[in-house]
Amino acid sequence: MNTMNFTLSTSTTIYEWLLGILPEGWENTANIGTMIVIALIYLAIFAVAGLYLVLLERKVAAWFQLRLGPNRVGFWGLLQTMADALKLVSKELTGTIKADKFLYNLAPYFVIVTSLMALSVFPFTQEFQAFDINIGLFFLIAISSIGVIGILLGGWASNNKFALIGAMRSGVQTISYELSIGLSLVTMVLITGSLQLSEIIEVQKNGWLIVQGHIPAVIAFMIYMIAGTAETNRAPFDMVEAESELGAGFHTEYSGMKFAYFFLAEFINMFIIAAIATTVFFGGWLSPFGITESIPWLGVIWFIGKTFILVFLMMWFRWTFPRLRVDQLLTLEWKYLLPLNLLNIVLMAVIVWLNLTIQF
């Protein structure tokens, strides 16, 4: 295959390669084989990416606090999370006697599986997308709702008072803020007219959606960032795992690899929230004003770059603000964000109907 014309459509590439290997008539196996190979590749990349997000968080935290952060293990601390992962894998898996064994073991898998599933629909650049389903956005929101089950199961099955309180708080918080996320994304769908992620990016070739939608889009973005931070249980909404209060929240009783799943899932969720925002508000893999239109694979760099800026924004929030009390958190959602969101949808609908969007 000529490397200059290497098409970025990975699924077709792998499918054809597998078809070439297997004997005739095994198309179904080739299909399944494609899916398995893609799953393995994504798993590998994003597990490692999750680890490096943790390192980034530690470095960013250190810079805000006027110190250096990890810089001993590997050049500039790059091997630090590898060391941490090795440590976590080799830890003893403790468990309480009265914990419900099956649910206790099942809970982390809910959380990590849903996080990784959500990653499969993102368009990294033109045609570089694992699954381009026509309900892409809806799929993303639905998948993140399933993650809540993992948290509640983990808290309940630990048979520990603190874990239970933490899990209940977290469940309440996540369910409330999903409304805001869904509604702010619906606001943007009003412009694009489609839930399919590649279509959303096609529409943004006339200008990023946050520019096209001007006022209601900016409001939707701000609500989305607040709700997204709350979804992932990060500060200032991290009452759930407030270390200065009740221990570690719902994952108190987990250790070793299972704890690593929860921990990693939090960072991957952060990445997902930022990636959705990039795709829907900031043009995904498109370059501003189309400057590198002709080199498609640069789209990956644009996508990753924009996502990382939003991830940095979320980290910035964490290290600056104090945390909200649980009842203040819920008041914020139900009394302020939800009505604001609904009004915003009406406003956006009016603007689209009257053709007042800014197009380039």
Partner: protein, 373 residues
């Protein structure tokens, strides 16, 4: 409290939680038994004694110079002021007049200790409420003060610089310059800290109207220091019963009337400004003279009872010595500000939520070795 299910009188919705001795929010080894109904606190009962070292009993067999060494392990964040309390009691009992130089230096170092203690308090306050970065900023400035102390007194936490009759050694030649540099630096930092934490709307919502203490309750519970001043009770020992060089400086007592956590917070920030103003008034005019007055090697207090109050960073520390004329005190009692301040925790936390308990306890600024002695 018997916390087994069979023997307690739990109603069906309430449950016990133990904020155990090792806990990030209780500053020191304090165990709190909380009875909670959902998120509302019904009762808070502290369990003390994890760091009880029987300082009062040990002092009954120690000489007065040795007692000074024990006191700075009580409230280790205002160690210099604790030492000063015992030294003043002994000096007043012996009717010993220390040189002016000693008084001025003691005052300057006390005020620096107060600023250092409040810096640490500010850092930990932010950390308890969730703004984890403030911890580092608070400690960074405290390090500068610790460096000044290390040069002059030789220690960073437990100073032992005072002794009955004066100071252990004279101040280091760099002391004046380094203190002035620190004041100039800190004056630019304190407004920055105000903007970071005090102006933040989330912080205000966590603190305003939380943990309200009325003035009558503050007086009845024996509260002192910034806790009482946040409720409007004017109790600054430096104003009402001045000691050392406080008669010669002018400063205002920080008083607020709201009585909630935000008021107590603002009182301490205001105190830091006042401390800097006191140091500025004294630092340029340290009188020349001796740094101590000779006392006998074995100090014997005359027969009688002696009481001295000082204002530590936490409140009013009292030293009560009953002496029968021998070289050890017959009975020495340290009136710790923390014990009275802790007794009102149940009163202000009941009816609030767990998050409010953490915020209120941070504004009470408890140091548990001070309570347990």
């Amino acid at each position: 409290m018997d916390t087994t299910i069979e023997n307690s009188n739990l109603k069906s919705e309430e449950y016990f939680i133990n904020m155990g001795p090792q806990h990030p929010a209780t500053h020191g080894v304090l165990r709190l038994l909380l009875t909670i109904d959902g998120e509302i606190i019904k009762k808070v009962e502290p369990d003390l004694g994890y760091i009880h070292r029987s300082i009062e009993k040990m002092s009954e067999r120690d000489s007065y110079q040795q007692i000074v060494h024990l006191t700075d392990r009580m409230d280790y964040l205002s160690s210099h002021i604790n030492n000063e309390a015992v030294c003043l009691t002994v000096e007043n009992a012996l009717q010993l007049e220390v040189p002016e130089r000693v008084k001025v230096i003691r005052t300057i170092i006390s005020e620096l200790t107060r600023i250092a203690s409040h810096c640490l308090w500010w850092g930990v306050m932010g950390m308890d409420v969730g703004a984890l970065t403030s911890y580092f900023y608070g400690f960074r400035d405290r390090e500068m003060i610790n460096d000044i102390f290390e040069e002059t007194c030789g220690a960073r936490l437990t100073m032992n610089y005072n002794l009955p009759g004066g100071l252990m050694y004279d101040i280091h030649p760099n002391f004046v310059k380094r203190t002035k540099d620190f004041i100039a630096h800190f004056k630019t930092k304190l407004p920055e800290y105000d903007r970071l934490l005090t102006g933040n709307v989330i912080f205000q919502k966590r603190m305003k109207g939380v943990g309200i203490l009325t003035k009558e309750d503050a007086i009845s519970f024996g509260a002192s220091g910034p806790v009482a001043r946040g409720s409007g009770y004017s109790c600054d020992v430096r104003k009402h019963h001045p000691y050392s060089a406080y008669k010669n400086v002018s400063f205002t007592e920080s008083l607020k009337t709201a009585g909630d956590s935000l008021a107590r917070y603002e009182v301490r920030i205001q105190e830091m400004w006042e401390s800097m103003s006191i140091i500025e008034q004294l630092i340029d005019n340290i009188p020349e003279g001796d740094y101590k007055v000779a006392t006998k090697a074995v100090i014997k207090l005359p027969k009688g009872e002696f009481y001295q109050k000082v204002e530590t960073a936490r409140g009013e520390l009292g030293v009560y010595i009953i002496s029968t004329g021998t070289k050890n005190p017959y009975r020495i009692k340290f009136r710790s500000p923390g014990l009275s301040n802790l007794s009102l925790l149940n009163h202000i936390a009941v009816g609030g939520k767990i998050g409010d308990l953490v915020a209120s306890m941070a504004t009470l600024d408890l140091v548990i070795p001070d309570i347990d002695r």
